[in-house]
């Protein structure tokens, strides 16, 4: 017969609301990366729940596989897609959100009330008996006897999924990658010496990389202070007008 100890009760009543709040937060925050962090927290909470429920092995696996591997994968992909892009939470499909929330509340309500009414036919047993030889041993016993066939199938699935992901993510080149020399020639071919110097580094407004060209202020005008005083004194400063945003050819050539 299962006796739930007070520490577990306390742990539950602290962690469960936090998990639910984290899940809700995951739903409401704008940035995907925040969502991912909140989800990681929910998963860790669940791992604690597993361990509390005598599912030690699963709890560890949960941390290793989910919080460790799966969440990292998510974060990688987020990086790839654009880590600091924040979603707009305004709904574009009209009527979808009210319906979804009503349905979800209905779902949750009926689901919870169903659990409340459910009877299992006996009092909770607890896992003391099942775990007599240790949780991992008990699971292994099951996994390699009763569930050996599903286990093998699942392993096949895992291999297939890994291969499939590779196939999907693999990008087939249709043209040969241009060599550095070819890229350089192409830059000069554009006809603009400004372009020939290569693109400016990230986070810079400047449209030109040469030292004698002033940087541009946010309003698009030239910033004279960006030129070395020496060059200024030598009078080697180029007229910046042609680099102002209004004048500059601002079509972005996409890097292939």
């Amino acid at each position: 017969m299962l006796e739930i100890q007070t520490p577990e009760t306390i742990m539950f009543w602290i962690l469960a609301p936090v998990a639910v709040l984290a899940a809700l937060g995951m739903l409401l925050v704008k940035k995907a990366v925040h969502s991912a962090l909140l989800l990681a927290w929910v998963m860790i909470t669940l791992a604690i729940f597993y361990i509390a429920q005598d599912a030690v092995f699963l709890g560890i696996v949960q941390i290793v596989v989910y919080t460790g591997a799966v969440m990292m994968l998510f974060l990688f992909i987020l990086m790839l897609v654009g880590v600091d892009a924040s979603d707009s939470l305004t709904e574009t499909i009209s009527g979808l959100r009210p319906i979804a929330i009503t349905a979800a509340i209905g779902f949750g309500g009926i689901f919870v009330s169903l659990i409340g009414r459910a009877t299992i036919g006996h009092k909770p047993y607890g896992l003391e008996f099942a775990n007599t030889n240790g949780n991992v041993e008990g699971l292994a016993q099951k996994l390699f006897s009763t569930y050996v066939w599903p286990f093998e199938v699942i392993s096949a699935l895992l291999v297939t999924a890994a291969l499939g992901a590779m196939v999907l993510a693999h990008h087939q080149r249709t043209i040969a990658r241009p060599s550095q020399r070819e890229q350089s020639i192409a830059r000069f071919r554009t006809g603009s010496l400004g372009g020939a110097a290569g693109l400016p580094s990230p986070g810079v407004f400047a449209r030109h990389n040469a030292v004698d060209v002033p940087a541009l202020l946010p309003d698009g005008s030239a910033a004279p202070t960006s030129i070395s005083a020496t060059l200024k004194a030598r009078g080697d400063m180029l007229e910046s007008q042609s680099f102002e945003l209004g004048e500059v050819d601002n079509t972005v050539t996409e890097e292939k």
Partner: protein
């Protein structure tokens, strides 16, 4: 019953002519008319031969039959293709082939300028064959074949010049109105088969002795409708005037002498039904009386010579129907009038054709006048026919018409007086309008255009007219001498006790009739011979004249009561079919398409909306569980 194997030639010869001429096409243009005439004449020859054979046999063995083959045999419905030639049929056979041959001869010349003369002769032969089949069939169904066959021939001949839309319409009108009559015949046959179990003349006659009054009345009324359709009797008379669209020999043969009298034949042939069904008989009499007045009245107002004659035909057939409705006493007189009428009316139509031939196809009598001088033979033959039709002794019409008037008076009681007076009145009007035709055409001052050159017709045309004129003069006398025709026909109708008591003495009736004729002739002479006649029909005439000119509003009536509602119904049904019935069918289609495109809207392509649907589905599912486990 005597059988014979040669009766079929009566029908087969002209039928072969029609088939050959129609199939041979233009190749037969040179000799087609000669072949047709020869075949018609040879059919007449067969008829004469049969008559001589018949005369050589004793009275009760004179009827001959021939069974060709089993035509239709299903269950108890057994119809043989059988021919019955008895004393009644032989009269018709000789009239049809005799007058028919004369009209063939006449047409050789009359139609000589028409490029489709061969086709015309083919139709004429087809008509002769059908008409012979009509009078020779030994059952109502065989009669029906001939009945519609003559309708077809009449349709083809009325519409012979169908390039004129009005003529094409006239032919269609004739066929359709005839079909209404045919419907009556169909009903009669159906009733006869359903109630009496037979449709042959002999079978029906036998069964009619035991049949109920109601059955026989129903059959009789249906036969009367059939007769009215074919014989242009009230209320199905409207087609006859328009039928004058056909070439004149056609009007003479079909619409005067033979086909239109088929109704009389039908009633007389079905005497056993009418004898036992007084109600039907009374209706026959009424139809006859109404039509003879109707036709006579229309005849007074017509300026078209052919239409005037057509109205006269209608009226004269009214006399025959009247006589046929008077029972055993009248049958023979109906046939007698039919035969004499066949001669004098055919002769007069041919005369009218001859006049038109000489007058560049002018038919308006107001544009004639004084043709006596230019067409003496036509005048003479037409005049003899005229004297016959108005009933001047000793011409044919006198005998036959007098006999009918007399029989009408003898019908007894109020009925007799009314019918007799109507017949007398009809005689007076007949005298009036026929004199009008005569005077306007031949004796009044000339009113034709200067560029017309009236001339006598060639001998091929006047010879038949002359022969028919001889018939108009003599037949009445021949038929009545010693009551020869009455006795000849009596085996067909059965002996009946002669009416001993006459309502009026014969001489008084004759006197009355002659007085009526004199009155009619005098009025006409005063009005047309001794006063000026306008070349244009005067428009400021009384309402009665105007109505009479419009055929007593028969067409307006038919148009407003049947045609326009019929057309409206047709339009309504066409619309109903498209909008309601097919509309319903299309609605099924559009509903399917509409439902599809409505449901397609839920397929936005947005994965999230599908997810919502899944969610809703899940809610419904667990709600279901929730309810079930309650």
């Amino acid at each position: 019953m005597t059988t014979s194997t040669s009766l079929v030639y009566l029908i087969a010869l002209p039928l072969a002519g029609a088939v050959i001429l129609l199939l041979a096409g233009r190749r037969a243009d040179k000799w087609g008319h000669l072949l047709a005439t020869a075949l018609s004449a040879s059919s007449f020859g067969v008829g004469l031969y049969q008559l001589s054979q018949m005369l050589s046999r004793p009275t009760e063995e004179r009827a001959v039959t021939q069974k060709l083959f089993t035509w239709i045999s299903v269950g108890s419905f057994n119809i043989d293709a059988g021919i019955l030639l008895d004393q009644l049929s032989i009269c018709f056979v000789l009239l049809i082939t005799g007058v028919g041959t004369l009209i063939h001869i006449y047409s050789i010349s009359y139609m000589s300028h028409d490029e489709n003369r061969r086709r015309f002769f083919a139709y004429l032969n087809l008509f002769i064959a059908s008409m012979l089949l009509l009078v020779l069939g030994d059952s109502y169904l065989n009669l029906y074949v001939g009945w519609e066959g003559v309708g077809l021939a009449s349709y083809l001949l009325i519409g012979f010049w169908n390039q004129k839309p009005a003529y094409a319409t006239a032919s269609k009108k004739a066929f359709v109105m005839n079909r209404i009559g045919d419907m009556g015949l169909s009903f009669a046959i159906m009733i006869a088969f359903a109630t009496l179990g037979s449709v042959s003349f002999s079978g029906v006659e036998e069964a009619s002795h035991t049949a109920s009054q109601a059955t026989l009345t129903a059959i009789g009324i249906m036969l009367l409708i059939a007769a009215a359709g074919k014989s242009a009797q009230f209320p199905l008379q409207a087609w006859l005037g328009d039928a004058m669209a056909g070439p004149t020999p056609v009007s003479a043969l079909i619409h005067a002498a033979t086909m239109v009298t088929a109704g009389v034949y039908l009633i007389v042939r079905s005497h056993f039904i009418f004898d036992a069904a007084p109600t039907a008989q009374l209706l026959v009499v009424l139809v006859g009386a109404v039509t003879l007045t109707f036709g006579a009245l229309v005849g007074t107002a017509k300026d078209d010579i052919k239409k005037a004659l057509a109205a006269s035909t209608m009226s004269q057939i009214g006399y025959m129907i009247l006589a046929a409705g008077l029972g055993p006493a009248g049958y023979a007189f109906a046939i007698m009038h039919l035969l004499t009428h066949g001669f004098f009316k055919a002769g007069m139509f041919l005369g009218a054709g001859s006049v038109m031939h000489g007058m560049n196809d002018q038919v308006n009598m107001r544009r004639y006048g004084a043709l006596r001088k230019f067409m003496p033979i036509t005048f003479a033959t037409f005049g003899l026919g005229y004297l016959a039709i108005i009933g001047v002794p000793p011409f044919a019409g006198f005998y036959s018409k007098d006999a009918i008037i007399e029989t009408a008076f003898n019908a007894g009681g109020i009925k007799g007086i009314l019918l007799g007076s109507t017949a007398l009145l009809g005689a007076a009007i007949t005298a009036f309008y026929m004199t009008r035709v005569m005077v306007l055409t031949f004796t009044s001052p000339e009113r034709w255009e200067k560029d017309q050159h009236p001339h006598e017709s060639p001998w091929l045309m006047w010879l038949p007219m002359a022969i028919l004129a001889i018939g108009s003069v003599s037949t009445g006398f021949l038929f009545t001498r010693g009551d020869s025709l009455v006795h000849w026909l009596s085996p067909v109708f059965g002996e009946h006790e002669a009416h001993e008591e006459h309502f009026l003495p014969v001489i008084v009736v004759s006197g009355l009739a002659l007085t009526a004729v004199v009155i009619g002739v005098s009025i006409a002479l005063v009005k047309y011979q001794f006063s000026d006649v306008d070349a244009e029909a005067p428009q400021n005439v009384s309402i009665f004249t105007r109505i009479a000119r419009k055929d007593l509003l028969q067409d307006s009536f038919n148009e407003s009561v049947f045609m326009r509602p019929g057309q409206a119904l047709t339009r309504l049904l066409v619309k109903t079919d498209d909008k309601v019935i097919d509309g319903t069918v299309r609605l099924v289609g559009t509903t399917a398409i509409g439902t599809g495109s409505a449901l397609r809207k839920t397929q936005t392509g947005f994965a999230r909306s599908y997810a919502v649907l899944i969610l809703i589905g899940a809610v419904a599912l667990i709600a279901g569980i929730w309810v079930v486990t309650q």
